[in-house]
Point group: C2
Chain length 407, copies 2
């Protein structure tokens, strides 16, 4: 009989956000009269920008006309979008990235989930703890994680980010082949200074490691001196792949568009004494398993870079940033210790003494009908925290704070 990929059977439970949805659904059954406010999953609530809507309508009309209809597009993405990305997100900021190094996709989750296919089966994987579950789970499925023992995967190198180290990961004792870094960080909302990021780039260069840099939240950076892209650091083009998304930048969570940068200079061992560039391999991977992001969505993403688009998305990001500030102040006033929220849409809130992550999750769900995400769901070092997101509507955010203040 055909046998399953046994790695699937090693998972301790369902995916974190599926589990939360389950718990919330159960609560709604017991208290159908209560309106639940979610500060849990990081989903946006503001509509798409008018410039994006116009671009979508216009592209839809093209698809209805034989003369302008578009079938299969290039797997890597249309040049018009890749060039807009290269110019606006990189070159205009003095960062060297060429349009040919950009791979447009349907989402950062797809990209960070699939990128591990490029590496050998025995590659040693390092992740921060707490961490976005996809980095770990995609490596579990591929067989690189080992076994799940006491809340940790036996072959994964964990880089704890705790109050003790100011949420800045330290270099591990075991040399990792691949290091996932996400800054501004999900879930802690913390950032790396230029010096701290440079130290990691230098480490990767010294040790021959690859950094997978998830920069999906860079649009939320407010403080100067915090790098928006890893390629602001000298030498990063030789060791790092960067992931970006339109989801949180322009509210594309339901529209689906993201991109990956794989620099020409990025080479790793071919296992036979030589070196091999990763860019053509990512192209090969996508040529085999992907058929490109919808044309109309790529036109929508292009509109994000128009003058109106830029202004409009800046306004929307401003709404979420104000939510974050209001939450930071309100939660602090309640006597809670709050991390993050200044350069990120995430707040990392310490649970009161004697209450663990899931305990706090249930307490605020049952008493305030507010959903947060238990920190331990992001890794063992997340115990004692919950993640709250600033993506609610301003009214919901204020109401959630009022409800929380009462308990």
């Amino acid at each position: 009989m055909t046998t399953v990929n046994g790695n699937f059977l090693k998972f301790p439970g369902v995916y974190l956000f599926q589990e939360i949805a389950h718990q919330v659904a159960a609560f709604k059954k017991t208290a159908p009269e209560k309106r639940v406010i979610s500060l849990g999953i990081g989903d946006v609530t503001q509509p798409l920008a008018p410039a994006v809507i116009r671009a979508l309508h216009s592209a839809v009309d093209e698809m209805g006309n034989a003369a302008t209809f578009r079938g299969y597009g290039p797997e890597q993405g249309y040049a018009f979008l890749r060039e807009a990305i290269a110019k606006n997100d990189y070159q205009d900021r003095g960062i060297k990235v060429d349009a040919s190094e950009i791979f447009v996709s349907d989402g950062a989750k797809s990209d960070v989930g699939s990128i591990q296919e490029l590496f050998s089966n025995d590659a040693v994987i390092a992740v921060t703890d707490p961490v976005y579950p996809v980095y770990v789970d995609s490596n579990v499925i591929a067989g690189r994680a080992g076994d799940y023992v006491n809340g940790k995967w036996s072959n994964i190198v964990y880089l704890p980010c705790t109050k003790a180290n100011g949420f800045v990961p330290e270099f591990p004792k075991v040399r990792p082949d691949v290091i996932y870094l996400c800054y501004p960080n999900n879930p802690t909302g913390t950032v790396l200074t230029r010096d701290a990021l440079k130290a990691w780039v230098d480490y990767a260069r010294r040790e021959g490691s690859v950094i997978l840099y998830d920069s999906a939240y860079e649009a939320y950076i407010t403080e100067p001196g915090v790098p928006h892209s890893i390629y602001e650091i000298e030498g990063a083009r030789e060791v790092a792949i960067e992931f970006r998304s339109f989801s949180k930048t322009a509210g594309f969570t339901g529209l689906r568009c993201a991109y990956v940068v794989v620099p020409e200079e990025l080479k790793i061992s071919d296992g036979k004494g030589g070196q091999v560039a990763l860019k053509p391999l990512w192209s090969r991977r996508n040529g085999t398993k992907y058929n490109g992001c919808p044309y109309i969505v790529q036109r929508a993403a292009e509109a994000v870079y128009s003058e109106e688009g830029k202004q409009e998305i800046r306004q929307t990001i401003g709404i979420y940033q104000k939510n974050a500030a209001v939450m930071h102040e309100g939660l602090t006033r309640m006597g809670l210790e709050v991390i993050g929220g200044k350069n990120a849409p995430y707040l990392w809130v310490a649970t009161p003494e004697g209450t663990d992550s899931w305990g706090f999750f249930h307490k605020v769900l049952e008493n305030a009908a507010v959903v947060c995400t238990p920190g331990v769901g992001f890794g063992a070092a997340g115990e004692g925290y919950v993640r709250m997101t600033a993506f609610g509507s301003p009214a919901d955010t204020v109401e959630a704070l009022e409800r929380l203040a009462k308990i």
Copy 2:
């Protein structure tokens, strides 16, 4: 240093269609005055149906309004679309498939490329020869294919489809764990009768194999008695996963929407003496590495099942079917032997004696500025054939035939 997934280095060249694009570009440089007509890649040319365009505009407007905006959707697809699929493509035809067994995606290429993740690393893979390259290449990347020797992968079980066996694959000598079948077939345009498909379902039940049934071209079936879905066959729900796509049915190649059916009853070995259902594992896989098809695209797909939508796409398919008939007649009149084209948008054309696949490809490119696909690109048994597709505009199709008649 970090080491690459060495399987990428085993590929003999670039992906078939990338190679063809390369050759065509080179030809265009040498003869810029010639208008190239492509009967090569299977891309549609007719615009989206008016009902689909209306649904897109309406959904775009929803995304621009806070009250109707949609963020992350369910990874498995919205219920409105899964229910429309289950009803129209299955239940109304007397086939048992539930909406909960349908997984909406961004394309059949993504689905058939990723489905192999569910199986053990040592699963024995069988494919017809010739075959759509994605089935093989995705298993090469995963390490199941062995080495490429004399045009074949050492660990792949090939099921030749040739004139000698009437293009119906015979049972292999070695028992495969996983069998990819595509009917109506890409590239040969042939079909399996109900009896022939039943024989394969019975084989899979007897041998404990899984059939991955790619039915992307079912809308092109004209003859009665040819099964549209593998689930028309008794017992198939226990052994088969079915892949469908809106690409060729409704011209969605640039819009990107497809779906997979994973029946509740489909179970394989858990490697420890028990059995495990594949449906929750595919859900887990998508929950980890995918974030769902765009809401607006799912509304577009839903419109395909409206009364207007059904009529409109039927008209467009009729255009391509007429192209296929015209091509079949024209090519036959030129003295060429033509397979397929009756229940499929593909024609499998025997090259004249003394000319191999790539030789014929170059001959028609250089002398007629017409692009076809060399049969050998689909596998060793494809040597001596080229694939032509019926997706051109009617005018281009007629002109291509006129040009071919002259050489």
